[in-house]
Amino acid sequence: MPVQLNRGIILVSLVLLEITACNPFIQANQDDHISSPQHRDSVADSTKLIPVETFSSDYFPCSDCHSEIPLNPQRRELVEMHDDIVFDHDSENRWCLACHNESNRDSLVLAGGKLLGFNESYKLCGQCHGPKIRDWKLGIHGKRTGQWNGQKQYLLCVHCHDPHSPKFKKLQPMPPPRRPEDIKIDSIYEREEKDSTSP
């Protein structure tokens, strides 16, 4: 693999870590191919989902705990577990079970009742976010890395958007450029005193 690609993936992973640092979320993914028949991109066959780290092996498979816990479909504030999740995603009208399948927590559930693996979570998002999912399939929305004329890596919605609290947190910007009046000959003399590699 060319060095640039390696660097690219390292950069992407670092960035992802940065964004997700405060936004833990769950994804599970054993299968890493996306099939998107509507995708008219000529490289549709070579698209590939980035394999995602599961949030933590503590949580998946969810049925480890939930097969034993009796179902309580009553909307409430969770206190014993998952109390660290801040839910702010149309919370007026929905709560956990709007997306997480009641009977088996290893699946997500679409509005019509169809079950979904976590690796296809984008279909769930797409139910409400129509224009976004269309743009995403065309490559207009969301980030792609890899080759502009070959294999690309796509990201799932949940790679960037925490499904429980999707609003992006702000970032600290990198430093502004130096003002031209601050670019002086003195700084050149300074650096020549240091051990530098400039010719």
């Binding site: 003002r179 031209p180 009046e181 670019i183 002086k184 000959i185 050149i188």
Partner: protein, 405 residues
């Protein structure tokens, strides 16, 4: 011809070393200033153009401003040419040579200003057609380099021919000289028009992208170039036996008055367009005359140029002040300074401020730039002085092949 060439050269060199105390004081001062310029330039060559105040936002500055002004001075030589040779107007005839020598010195200074402004002056050979790759297709700068070279060579040939013939106590050959001089008129106009096009054609800088820039350049050139001549003639009248009629000087001053009027008219037209149309492009003119958001380093210069121009215009227009040598000289100095500011600081800096993305960087020449410029001006003065040291005795008939033996 060759038989007297050796005497001409040796005689000329001898002349250069003969002079009054004033001459030596002048030459020594110039040499010292040139040395200072060279030392400053060395610092710039070693460290890069960072020693200037130019940065990405204002990528041309004092050097290019001086270049533009000196091209105007060079072009102004032809203002003397037209009445002298074409109409054989005696009062001006002998002294046209002095104007052409000024043109040569000015072009040399232009070349020097370009060389010191370049990041890689040693790569200038890339511009030589055939050896390098001169892009005559669309690059105005490419055409400018050719035009300036052509004008330099042309003037050099004309002047050398006339002076060498005079050295041999022969009249210059009208057959050769008149066509060349006729050619030098469009050549002179061409060099300054092409230099104006250099700015005019840049759509990215609305301050320059104005059709009247070429006529304005010519007008301001024709009123500033002769200013040096006016003062010079008075100096030469006093220091040598050269006879220059008052009439010649006064006519020059009158022509300058009319060209200054045209220059002021065009400036007024530009200001009208900015103020009346009132688009965002007026911000550059605003920076020059009023400053923007507290940035007002060049506002005094903007106004000084206009004030100098107007005063000089009046002084030259009114016959009484034109003919009075005190007011005449004040006018000459003012006109020179006024146009110098207009074409230097008043042209280059507002073109870049604010920059294309709206940023304001206030440029003002650095010490290096000023010292190198002083060095180059001194070089020009020195070259002119040395050429005059040979030319004036030839014109007076004091230096010819008989006396050189």
């Amino acid at each position: 011809m060759n038989m007297h060439l050796k005497e001409f050269i040796i005689g000329s060199i001898k002349l250069l070393f003969q002079g009054s105390k004033a001459y030596w004081a002048w030459v020594s001062t110039l040499l010292i200033l040139i040395a200072i310029g060279i030392v400053s330039y060395y610092g710039q060559a070693a460290n890069g153009l960072i020693t200037t105040s130019m940065r990405d936002q204002v990528s041309w500055g004092f050097y290019i401003g001086n270049f533009t002004f000196m091209v105007g001075i060079a072009a102004a030589a032809i203002m003397l040419v037209i009445p002298a040779y074409i109409y054989n107007w005696k009062p001006i005839k002998e002294i046209v040579i002095l104007g052409e020598l000024l043109a040569i010195s000015a072009i040399v200074m232009c070349l020097l200003f370009i060389l010191v402004d370049m990041g890689h002056p040693e790569r200038f050979w890339h511009m030589i057609p055939g050896i390098g790759k001169l892009r005559l297709g669309q690059s105005i700068l490419a055409w400018d380099s050719l035009a300036l070279t052509f004008y330099l060579i042309l003037n050099f040939i004309i002047v050398s021919h006339i002076l060498f013939r005079a050295f041999r106590i022969k009249d210059y050959s009208r057959k050769y000289v008149i066509p060349l001089i006729l050619l030098s008129v469009p050549a002179g106009i061409a060099i300054h028009t092409i230099t104006a096009f250099l700015y005019n054609g840049i759509a990215a800088r609305p301050f320059w992208n104005s059709a009247i820039l070429a006529p304005k350049f010519l007008a301001s050139a024709f009123c500033s170039g002769p200013a040096i001549m006016i003062i010079l003639f008075q100096v030469l009248r006093k220091t040598t036996k050269l006879q220059i009629e008052n009439r010649a000087i006064w006519t020059l001053a009158e022509l300058m008055a009319y060209t200054m009027f045209f220059n002021l008219f065009l400036t007024g037209a530009e200001i009208f367009k900015e103020v009346y149309s009132n688009t965002e492009h007026r911000v550059f003119t605003e920076y020059l005359y009023f400053g923007i958001e507290g940035h007002n380093k060049i506002v005094p210069f903007g106004w000084l140029a206009i004030i100098f121009d107007v005063i000089a215009f009046v002084l030259f227009l009114v016959p009484k002040t034109r003919k009075n040598f005190i007011t005449l000289n004040i006018g000459a100095v003012l006109i020179y300074l006024g146009v110098y500011i207009e074409k230097g600081i008043g042209l280059i800096i507002p073109g870049f401020t604010p920059d294309v993305l709206g940023e304001i960087y206030e440029y003002f020449p650095s010490t290096t730039e000023i010292l190198v410029t002083v060095g180059i001006f001194s070089t020009g003065f020195l070259i002119y002085t040395l050429m005059l040291k040979v030319a004036v005795p030839i014109i007076l008939g004091e230096f010819n092949y008989k006396k050189a033996q």
